[in-house]
Every structure is written in C-alpha cells, then in structure tokens.
C-alpha cells in the first residue's frame, strides 16, 4: 500500500514536471512567433527602403547628368563658357596669367 503511494507520487511529480516543461516550451515558442513575424516584416521594410534608395539614387544621378546640366545652362539659362581664365599669382610679386577657354 505504502509502495503504491510512493509510486503514485513519483508518477504525479514526473507528469507534473513534463507538463510544466511542455507549457514553458510552448510559452517560449509562442513568444518567438511574433518576434519572427516582426523580423520578417522589418526585413521586408529594409528591402523596400533599399529598393527605394536605389530608385532615388538613379533619379538624382539622372537629374545631375553633366550633359543635362550643360544643356540647361546653355539653353535655358543662356550661359556661355568664359572667353578666358585669369590666374593671379599671389606670391612675391603680383603677376597675372591667363589662357583662352574654348
């Protein structure tokens, strides 16, 4: 009778432990699900932002193309290249150099 009682207690403790471990494991697993989902969501956002960044980079580079800037300067702003460039020497004595620009 006493042995049966001990055995019963042993199994009770064992089953309880298993149940506690199972519940704890389940709880941890449940906690990781939203974290994983969050990681997935953030990864998606990072990718989207990277893609957007590439698109914007392309727009900036296309808008600042030298050919386009040159065209705007001459056609829209009516600018013209300088006829000559003047260099002023600022050392011992003042001297001026110049060269013709194209």
């Amino acid at each position: 009778m006493k042995r049966q009682k001990i055995r019963f207690r042993f199994y009770m403790i064992l089953y309880s432990l298993i149940a506690i471990i199972a519940v704890a494991g389940l709880a941890i697993n449940i906690q990781t699900i939203p974290i994983n989902e969050n990681i997935q969501k953030l990864s998606g956002q990072v990718k989207k932002l990277r893609d957007e960044n590439q698109e914007l980079k392309l727009k900036v580079l296309s808008a600042t193309r030298l050919e386009l800037v040159d065209q705007m300067a001459t056609d829209q702003l009516h600018m013209s290249p300088p006829k000559q460039v003047i260099y002023i020497q600022q050392k011992d004595k003042p001297n001026v150099f110049h060269h013709a620009a194209p």
Binding site: L61, L66, Q84, H99, P102
Partner: protein
C-alpha cells in the same frame, strides 16, 4: 519426443534462407547504399532555392556611380492556369507591346513556366498588375542601369538579360561584379509541401564586388562632347581621345565616337560597341617619329643640335621617300635634328632611323611597348602590328621611322609618349583603381606599375624639349595655351584598308598628342580623328579639339601656369 521430419527441416532451411536474404538486403540498403538513400530522401523533403546576389557597382575616381542595379519586376505565366489564352494574349500584348501572336504562342502549351516579358518599367508593371489575369505572375529581378547614358559606355560595356557581363569592364570583371549566389534549403514533406518549421539557410549570398575606376567623369564628359563636335565639324567618320596621367598611368578619360547607350546597347551596331582605343589599330604617322628621335638620342648618334643634310626626296630599296610639304625657293637642305621633328620631315627622320640601324630601331620600338598589349584592364586589347625585324625589307626602316607600315592602338601610342613625358620610365596604364570584394570585405588596390626605364631621363628631357619647340614654333603652334608650357606632336597618316592591304584613297587619320606642363607633365592627351573630310591634317583637325579639352582640364585639375604671358589681362 518431438522429432524434426525432413519436410519440417526443408521448411526450416527455406525460412533461414528467406530470412538470410532479407538480412542481406537490409545490410545492402542500410549500410552499403546508406549515403545514396539518405541523399535521395533529403532530395525528396528538401527544396533548394538559389538566392542571386546583387551585382557590384562601378564608380568613377570620385565615387560617382557609373553602373549599378535597381530592382524591377519581370512577368511570367503558368500556361496551365491561363483560362482564355487568346484573351490573355490580347490583354498582355496591349500593355507590353509584345505581339499578341507571340504571347499566344508562348502560353498555348501545358508548360509549367514561361517568361512573358522581363525587366518591366514601372508603368507597364502597374498596368499588368491592374489586369489581374489568372496565370500571370511577377518576380523581382535586378536591372543594370547606367545613369550617365552614353558617358563612358565603351569602357563600362554592358550586360545581358541575366546580368552577365558582355562588354567592357562588365565583361572583364564579371567574376568580381557577379558575386556568389547563396542557397536556401526549405524542408518539406515528400509530397512537396513546405513544412512551417523547416526553413534553414545553408549558404548566404555574397554581393558582387565594387569597382572604382580611374576615370574622371567631368573630363570624360568634355572629351565626349568635344570629340563629337570635332568629328561632326570635320565631316569625319569617328574619333578617339584618351587623357592619361603619365606619372601614375591613370586613364582619366577614354572616349570613342560614335558612342552608344549601355542601357539600350541592343539598338546600336556591333561596330560602335567596341572600344577602338584598345581594339583597333591605326598607322600613327608622324607621332611615331618620337620613337626614332628617342632612339638616336639615347644611342648618342646625334644631338638635337646636330646638323644633317636633308634632301627633299630619298631613294631607298627602290622606293622614294618624299616630304609631305614642298619647300620654298632657296630653302636650304641643312636642318638640325630638332628641326627635323619640329617641321615633321619624313626624309630627315628616315636618315635618323638609318643611323640607328634596323635591329636597334626595332629594339626601341618594342621597348616603348609597340607589338605588345599594354595590359590595360579592358577586354580584347590588340597587340598592334609590327613585323619582326627579320622580315623587314630595305625601305621598311624609313617608312616605319615616320609611322607608316606599323599599326598601333591609341592606348599603345599614349603609353609610349607618356614614357617620354615621365622622364623615360614606362608606367603600365590602369583604368581600375581598386576593387572592394564584399565576400571578405577586402580591398584590392591596383598598384602603379613601372615597366622599366626605356630611355634615360636626359634623353627624355631632350625629346621633350623638341616637342616643346614643335608647339612653340613648329607644326603644332595651334596647341599653345598662354601661361602653360605644352609639348606635342601632330600626325597625319593615310588610312589603311580593311584587311590591311593598301590605303583607302582620300582617307586619313589626323592626330595630335600633347602633354603639359613640360617640365613635370601631369596630363597627356591623345586626339585621333578618323577620315576627316574638310581638312586632313593633325594640326587643323586634332589640335583644335586638343586645345579645348586641355584648357578645361587645366581649370578642372587646377594646374598652375608655369609660363609668364606677354599680355596681361585685368
């Protein structure tokens, strides 16, 4: 007492035999064929997907992106899911511009997957999505873009539909730019359904390395702009320009006209897509006289002040060598060696080469790098054409001395004259500055490589002085820029026929090569104009282009003047 009858014994033996076969079979399957079946099982439950890496980017020397990738969508169809194939073809065709017959042919089968159109622009993609067609799906891919369009297209090259390099740096460094694909293994059940918990990555992808070139975008732009202008103004077929730093071998600009847009390379002809600066050869004409001059000065056979009697014609091996320009009445035959180059006299240069002799002259030609690739990091570089000295006929030495009967690439020519500008030391040209590998985050810098001292610094200085006089008072006076000492040489040569036999009547290659400041050159510029029709001379065709580019290069690089000017401008 139980006794075994022969029948029972027979049954026992049969059972033993049967069990033995089973045991043997189990050992065979589980031990001998273990690996095979493990793999087979894994293949059934594991689905492997390749993750493609991002292709590396290409930059100019200041970090301005010249080539990079952007994500776009490609449309594909699963024919078995398409209900009304005719209607599908019509609707897709109306948006994509692909003919309805072609789309119908694609979807009219029971295949699992077909591409409808790859790398869609944003508006086409939006319109296709709005159609909400059954069986039409989209996948993201990378599109290679060149934001500067035609700028540097011959150097950058282009890529195919799967982003594989097909030309220029894209081809030469495809192994670097491509990167290493990664792999995701998804665990599923034997029926192919993915298990929710079964995802695992077995190998991360590594993006392609980034390449930084030695190119200066601004200089490249002005080269392409003024080359195009010059070619059109002179009614020429095309042209090339290279700007190089003679001290480092850095190629700052490399232009080839006609150009093409790397974004739409399929729309241009094959002949326009090659980089003539490295793939094509031309007869250099008088610019080659510098090699002859360097040789005779280095061998101490003459000085730049030595006087030679230079007749108007010279007979050699049954061939008559003539000057390009006639002489005025009473003009003397006596010329200094310096004057021979300044006035670009063919007969005088032939006499100098004959003093040097065939073998020594040939040795100088090869030491300056002709007949060998320069090793520039671009594909399909030509060696040029220079016959072995053993096969030279008697007049060859005279012809080659002024740049006929020899074919060189523009990169060889500029590299050779850069040797003179760099005090006789030949520096290997480079167009790639550094490569950043993303896999191990290592940086591979391309070093400045010396190819050795070709001529002494003293000889280089003497040749430079002759080139300075050529610009000051010789055939290249148009190249002068007040305030700056410039050395240079013009070249006008007949254009060799396709196939290399004879010359094209009335077709010439006009060129000019110049460097500055003369005492310590920082910049060397080569301008070549192919088949100009209004004028044919280097002095009238190539020099005006050189002058425009040189003036802007001086401003851009803040090169300080080294010569006083007579007229002060306030």
């Amino acid at each position: 007492m139980f006794s075994i009858t022969p029948r029972l014994r027979g049954l026992q033996l049969a059972l033993f035999f049967f069990v033995g076969i089973l045991i043997f079979r189990l050992i065979y399957l589980q031990v001998i064929q273990h690996d095979f079946y493990v793999n087979k099982s894994q293949n059934q439950v594991n689905k492997v997907f390749t993750i493609y890496p991002n292709r590396g980017e290409i930059y100019d020397r200041d970090g301005v992106p010249l080539a990079f990738s952007k994500p776009v969508f490609s449309a594909y169809a699963i024919p078995t899911q398409v209900q009304n194939k005719r209607l599908f073809a019509q609707q897709v065709s109306a948006v994509t511009g692909v003919s309805p017959e072609h789309v119908y042919r694609l979807v009219n089968n029971n295949g699992a997957f077909i591409w409808v159109k790859r790398k869609l622009d944003q508006s086409t993609y939006d319109r296709l999505v709005a159609l909400k067609l059954d069986g039409l799906n989209f996948v993201q891919e990378d599109l290679r873009v060149y934001p500067q369009n035609e700028l540097l297209s011959h150097v950058l090259g282009f890529v195919g539909i799967d982003n594989q390099g097909l030309g220029g740096l894209e081809y030469k460094f495809d192994h670097v730019l491509q990167g290493t694909p990664g792999r995701i293994m998804l665990e599923g059940d034997p029926r192919g359904y993915r298990l929710a918990s079964g995802r695992k990555t077995t190998r991360d992808p590594f993006d392609g390395g980034n390449i930084t070139t030695t190119i200066d975008t601004y200089l490249q732009y002005i080269c392409q702009k003024y080359l195009k202008e010059g070619v059109i103004e002179n009614g020429a077929d095309g042209g090339q320009i290279i700007i190089m730093n003679p001290k480092t071998g850095d190629i700052l600009a490399m232009a080839d006209y006609p150009a093409f847009d790397s974004n739409n390379w399929r729309e241009s002809s094959d002949t326009y897509r090659k980089n003539s600066n490295v793939t094509d050869v031309y007869e250099p004409g008088s610019v080659f006289k510098l090699v002859t001059l360097a040789g005779v000065l280095e061998e101490n056979l003459v000085t730049t002040h030595s006087i030679l009697s230079v007749p108007q014609t010279l007979m050699i091996g049954g061939r008559t060598i003539r000057e390009a320009h006639g002489r005025s009445a009473g003009e003397t035959d006596r010329r200094t060696v310096g004057e021979i180059i300044e006035k670009s006299l063919n007969v005088g240069t032939s006499l100098l080469a004959m003093k040097l002799g065939q073998k020594k002259f040939y040795s100088y030609i090869t030491r300056f790098g002709f007949g060998n690739r320069t090793g520039l990091e671009l594909p399909a570089e030509s060696r040029g054409i220079i016959n072995d000295v053993k096969h030279w006929s008697e007049p060859d030495i005279a012809m080659i001395s002024f740049g006929q009967g020899v074919a060189v690439t523009p990169i060889q020519m500029i590299s050779a004259v850069a040797t003179i500008a760099n005090h006789g030391e030949r520096i290997k040209p480079r167009i790639v500055w550094q490569i950043v590998h993303k896999k191990d985050l290592s940086v591979h810098a391309v070093p400045i490589t010396s190819e050795g001292q070709v001529i002494s610094a003293k000889t280089a200085k003497e040749v430079t002085s002759v080139l300075y006089d050529t610009v000051r008072k010789g055939t290249a006076t148009g190249a002068q820029i007040p305030g700056y000492s410039i050395g240079g040489k013009t070249g006008t040569a007949q254009k060799v026929r396709q196939g290399g036999f004879g010359y094209e009547p009335g077709k010439y290659i006009a060129s000019f090569i110049g460097f500055f400041p003369v005492n310590d050159p920082e910049i060397i510029i080569l301008v070549i104009v192919d088949s100009p029709s209004k004028s044919i001379y280097g002095s009238t065709v190539a020099i005006p282009i050189f002058r425009k580019i040189a003036a802007l290069t001086i401003d851009h690089l803040n090169i300080y003047p080294d010569e006083p000017t007579a007229n002060l401008v306030m």
